[in-house]
């Protein structure tokens, strides 16, 4: 039976288009139960945006949860990865407290994860797929990319307390240069380090503008040792590799370097990113490398992934991406 395409809502069309995109790139569909043992989240509570989870006791007395997240389950269920890269995509409902309404909400999420021997090529592939996903949703989309390692290395060099790190991260994520200045003064960080942190707030936009500024600020800086400069060079180099991949794919106009994209330093590392679509007030896509989460869950391999929050797309007036064929 040929299904009339008009029967599908914008959200459903986008969902099918994304699944089609990921399958086309060799990702396998990963299905999960709606429920997960609560213990999984209890051990990794900070990984979730909100610590609140809907729980219930199953008939065997086991405390269960309605899934607030997909990534943790995928990592839990993939133990023996070895030297390969496992490429999975999913389309699941998750249950979280909305930070805006502070009530539980069912959120439809489509996303993908790569677990295993994740290398530069794999990272670029995932970022390009994130960009392609945005294109499926709208012609007017931007992907903000950051390298969390730059901030981590800077924190190590500053030697500040965890509390100050959190305050600084919050200022960077809200582009709050005046607040950052006050925190740096209170923490007695000195003008040179304060200026570098401020660079992460004030330097954003197209890679051609941002990368040379970063190189000047971090690599031509007498504040750092040779080893420290080398680490910064590698981190900036990782951004450059993504820029090259985007240029090759003709998607460079979608790319912004922006350090206001931040994630929990306990779980994420390296490249992290967030996607925005014109006319939708919230980010619609979010992802990054989470080797630290893998380590916490006793995995020796690396990982990267992203999720598209389909519920945020309700504000899109039309589905103006590529035409989707639903098939027979």
């Amino acid at each position: 039976m040929k299904i009339n395409e008009e029967i599908f809502s914008n959200k459903e069309k986008a969902m099918f288009a994304l699944r089609q995109l990921y399958a086309k790139h060799g990702f396998s569909m990963y299905r999960m139960s709606k429920f997960e043992e609560f213990g999984l989240y209890a051990e990794n509570m900070d990984f979730l945006d909100s610590g609140q989870i809907i729980t219930f006791t199953d008939t065997d007395g086991m405390l269960m949860a309605l899934k607030p997240d997909v990534t943790l389950s995928i990592v839990k269920n993939n133990r023996h990865i070895g030297n390969r890269i496992i490429k999975l995509y999913y389309n699941e409902n998750i249950y979280r407290v909305s930070p805006k309404t502070r009530f539980f909400k069912e959120i439809m999420q489509v996303g993908l994860e790569c677990l295993g021997a994740v290398d530069d090529a794999c990272i670029s592939e995932v970022l390009l797929l994130a960009a392609e996903s945005m294109k499926v949703l709208s012609d007017e989309a931007k992907l903000d990319v950051s390298n969390l390692d730059i901030l981590t290395q800077l924190f190590e060099s500053c030697g500040v307390t965890r509390e100050t790190e959190e305050q600084i991260t919050m200022c960077i994520s809200s582009k709050n240069a005046h607040g950052l200045e006050r925190i740096c003064r209170a923490a007695d960080l000195g003008p040179a380090r304060a200026e570098l942190l401020k660079t992460l707030v004030t330097t954003y936009g197209s890679p051609e503008e941002v990368i040379p500024k970063l190189e000047k600020s971090f690599l031509d800086n007498s504040l750092f040792t040779f080893e420290e400069k080398d680490s910064f060079r590698k981190s900036i180099g990782a951004l450059r590799k993504i820029v090259d991949a985007f240029r090759e794919a003709g998607l460079e106009d979608m790319l912004n370097i922006d350090f206001s994209v931040v994630s929990d330093l306990k779980y994420y590392n390296g490249i992290i990113f967030k996607g925005f679509v014109a006319g939708v007030p919230d980010g619609v896509l979010s992802g990054g490398q989470y080797d630290k989460l893998m380590k916490r869950m006793k995995r020796t391999s690396r990982a990267i992934g992203f999720g598209v929050y389909m519920d945020n797309l309700g504000k899109l007036s039309k589905f103006d991406g590529e035409e989707v064929e639903i098939g027979e």
């Binding site: 930070p99 903000d144 709050n176 005046h178 014109a278 006319g279 919230d282 980010g283």
Partner: protein, 210 residues
């Protein structure tokens, strides 16, 4: 997508002051000065559209994208935990968020501390940091009355000059944060209207008075 920048301003004295700053920065909209009941004012040449909203609602308008940018008090941003960019401290509407109590009050930790406030989340976070057990009493106004009538031990509130506290025999015990009006931006709007928003922010920065 319209290229006009939608700006949410807080109704009242602070809003008037803030509009003066926008005007000085070159984003005037003379119709706004007319005394009428209109809510939206446009100046297509300057590329701006202003609207007045309740001060506590500005952050919501911006976070949800109905306004691209807006001006909100830091107290409101702290309480709501709004997910927006905070681009500038406009240095107006200055006061402090403080804990105040009866003169000479000291908390001996033998009982739960009763805290009356409008800023429930700020108070909870402040006391959680020191592991203090508190009973929050959410009030909507006349907070200073609470410790006088024995409803609470202390209050968490905005203190401008300290005169009201003094007249009621209360004093500041702890300062939580310096408060002032902030220029905020919706994160998504900032991606697609970067040039205009950065231009407004830079020009506003040049008219901030110390």
């Amino acid at each position: 997508m319209s290229n006009m920048i939608n700006i949410a301003l807080p109704k009242g004295r602070l809003g008037d002051k803030v509009y003066d700053m926008f005007e000085k920065a070159g984003f005037e909209c003379p119709a706004i000065r007319e005394k009428n009941r209109k809510l939206i004012f446009e100046n297509p040449e300057a590329g701006v559209r202003y609207f007045w909203v309740k001060p506590s609602d500005v952050a919501i308008y911006v976070e949800r994208g109905a306004a691209d940018i807006g001006v909100a008090g830091k107290d409101i941003l702290m309480e709501a935990g709004t997910d927006v960019y905070e681009l500038l401290d406009l240095n107006v509407g200055k006061c402090t968020m403080a804990v105040a109590g009866p003169a000479g009050f000291s908390y001996d930790r033998s009982n739960e501390l009763r805290v009356a406030t409008k800023f429930v989340n700020v108070a909870r976070e402040f006391y959680a940091a020191s592991g203090t057990d508190i009973d929050i009493i959410h009030l909507n106004g006349s907070i200073e009355l609470a410790p006088i009538l024995g409803l609470s031990d202390v209050i968490v509130d905005l203190v401008e000059t300290g005169t009201t506290l003094k007249e009621n025999n209360l004093e500041v015990i702890d300062v939580i944060a310096d408060i002032s009006a902030r220029l905020i931006s919706n994160k998504s709007s900032f991606k697609f209207k970067t040039k205009q928003i950065v231009d407004i922010s830079r020009r506003l920065e040049s008219v901030i008075e110390d």
